[in-house]
């Protein structure tokens, strides 16, 4: 991997070389080096925690517990998809996603401990959003059945868009340490969403009959996503009038693929 710096310009490459480049370990490393160098557990180690009112601390713990569930789902899904990924370069990309998701889980668990949670496992069980748990089960069913399109759609489009939107909303009013953690995670999620949109976009162009199938999956997951969304935005104290703006942002990400039928 080259020294620090911006990733090389891949858009001048032929399609096949472009995909090899943007899915490579080197490309990933150059991307994450820019925002992870000199951080510890996702934030500047010199940043000091500000005292949080108890109600805010409680709400933050609930939000982080559910982030851990989402990231565990993403970790297990992305690792499970490597075995049947359709090309070498996609396997490489998914490997970088696996370590991203593992890192997110690690930094959120660490944040929980910083907030005084002694047993994160127990806390996660207690505060889990049931809709998110159902979403996780459904996603892993797609993964286990080796249904590539459904798994990419549920994971890299729906789940990643959901997380991206929630983390963005939360970062706007989070304490400084949580905000720094979220900002780096958001950058990873943007890469993962880009992969999902790109991969499915190409498949949809070649096989249009895939569109109604993905539309059906979306409708099956919609209720779980919206319930998760509402719960998490409430925990992150996003004002009600702002919630619609973020919901629209999530729906727009899914609609870009034209499967929102």
């Amino acid at each position: 991997m080259a020294a620090l710096g911006a990733p090389s310009e891949p858009h001048s490459l032929e399609e096949c070389d472009f995909l090899d480049e943007v899915h490579s370990f080197d490309f990933w490393l150059q991307a994450v080096e820019g925002y992870l160098l000199d951080t510890k557990h996702g934030h500047n180690p010199e940043l000091v925690d500000e005292p949080l009112p108890e109600s805010r601390r409680e709400a933050l713990i609930t939000a982080l517990c559910n982030y851990c569930i989402g990231e565990t789902a993403a970790l297990e899904a992305s690792s499970g998809m490597i075995g049947y990924a359709p090309s070498r370069s996609i396997k490489i990309f998914l490997s970088t996603q696996v370590v991203d998701e593992g890192r997110h889980l690690e930094v959120f668990l660490h944040r929980l401990r910083e907030l005084g949670v002694e047993d994160p496992d127990a806390e996660i069980l207690q505060r889990a959003n049931p809709s998110l748990l159902k979403f996780k089960d459904q996603l892993l069913e797609y993964v286990d059945s080796k249904d590539w399109e459904a798994a990419v759609f549920a994971q890299n489009v729906i789940l990643e868009s959901l997380e991206f939107t929630v983390f963005q909303a939360h970062a706007e009013n989070a304490d400084p340490i949580t905000r720094q953690i979220l900002m780096a995670v958001i950058k990873d999620e943007r890469r993962h969403m880009g992969f999902g949109e790109n991969d499915l976009g190409r498949r949809l162009a070649l096989t249009p009959h895939l569109r109604p199938r993905l539309g059906k999956i979306k409708r099956q997951l919609d209720q779980l996503v919206m319930e998760t969304f509402a719960g998490t935005l409430r925990d992150t104290e996003v004002p009600p009038d702002e919630q619609q703006r973020f919901a629209s942002s999530y729906l727009a990400a899914v609609a870009r693929l034209g499967v929102d039928l």
Binding site: V32, H41, T72, S79, V99
Partner: protein
């Protein structure tokens, strides 16, 4: 457990690997370091290099499938985190060894056929035994097969290849040096994490020892085939690269430059088996000797 596992966190991995020994490298070697001309111009050397790289790519593909497949059945978050880093390590190894095949002149659309041509069937059997355990979601057997047996073999093979290539091919030696650092971490995790699980589930020992025996058989068969009928290749290599009795490629007390292929196979097999016995002993398993495979 959590204290020792903190050494295998993603934070530790980021600091030691991508932000450590991989800084300022390109596909695992120094920026701009060329492939030695001899490997590009001499067909015997090039074929030999492609054959070796093929086994490394196939072995790493197996490790990738195993480490990613084990994440879902890992019993705790810390193990999942470590396996996430191992997944990316293994994929990086696949990528850099594949890149060397491209550097040796293999075209992208010829990669799979080249791997099929040079692939050692015993190595594929070795992988099958391991991946069967992984597919069943058997975490304990999977980690023993992957992080003790496969990684233990890879560790010694990489070390030996590095010693052989230190003088004649600094690019390959540096690539191997980074992978050895990764494998050391993987083997360490296997030893540290699995010992406790074996003590917790002692009834699993016979089945896991049987897996080790089968994997060891296929590993020794892989070595036997890899070192058979290699006299001419060795002779040509020593003639072109100028390596021979005057060179000092010392590894485990043997001067590899002066050894014949069968002697080299013996040194490698002895080293790997000795390491297996030590590592298996540390986690409470008894090494099981397989039958001796015949050379092809």
């Amino acid at each position: 457990m959590s204290d020792f596992l903190s050494a295998y966190s993603i934070q530790s991995w980021l600091e030691s690997c991508p932000q450590g020994y991989l800084m300022n490298t390109d596909y695992g070697h120094a920026l701009g370091e060329p492939e030695p001309q001899a490997y590009l111009e001499n067909d015997v050397l090039r074929n030999d290099a492609l054959s070796t790289m093929t086994q490394l790519v196939l072995g790493e593909r197996c490790a990738l499938a195993a480490s990613s497949g084990l994440i879902n059945c890992a019993p705790d978050y810390a193990s999942k985190h470590f396996l996430a880093t191992q997944t990316l390590d293994e994929e990086r190894h696949v990528e850099i060894f594949t890149q060397r095949m491209f550097d040796l002149g293999v075209k992208k659309d010829e990669l799979e056929s080249t791997l099929n041509h040079y692939g050692n069937p015993h190595l594929l059997k070795f992988a099958e035994v391991l991946l069967e355990k992984v597919d069943k979601g058997d975490f304990v057997a999977g980690v023993v097969g992957q992080n003790i047996v496969l990684e233990g073999m890879a560790f010694s093979v990489f070390e030996m290849l590095k010693a052989v290539n230190e003088e004649s091919n600094p690019k390959l030696a540096q690539i191997l040096s980074g992978t050895i650092a990764d494998e050391r971490r993987h083997v360490g995790f296997g030893e540290n994490r699995i010992g406790a699980l074996i003590r917790e589930f002692p009834e699993r020992k016979p089945e896991i020892e049987q897996m080790q025996k089968e994997m060891t058989y296929h590993m020794l068969a892989t070595f036997a085939e890899a070192f058979s009928d290699r006299e001419e290749t060795y002779e040509e290599s020593r003639r072109v690269l100028g390596t021979g009795e005057d060179s000092q490629a010392m590894w485990h007390g043997a001067n590899l430059s002066a050894l014949e292929p069968q002697e080299m196979e013996q040194v490698l097999a002895d080293t790997v088996l000795k390491e297996f016995k030590v590592r298996l002993g540390r986690i409470g398993l008894d090494y099981q000797s397989p039958a001796t495979p015949k050379a092809a």
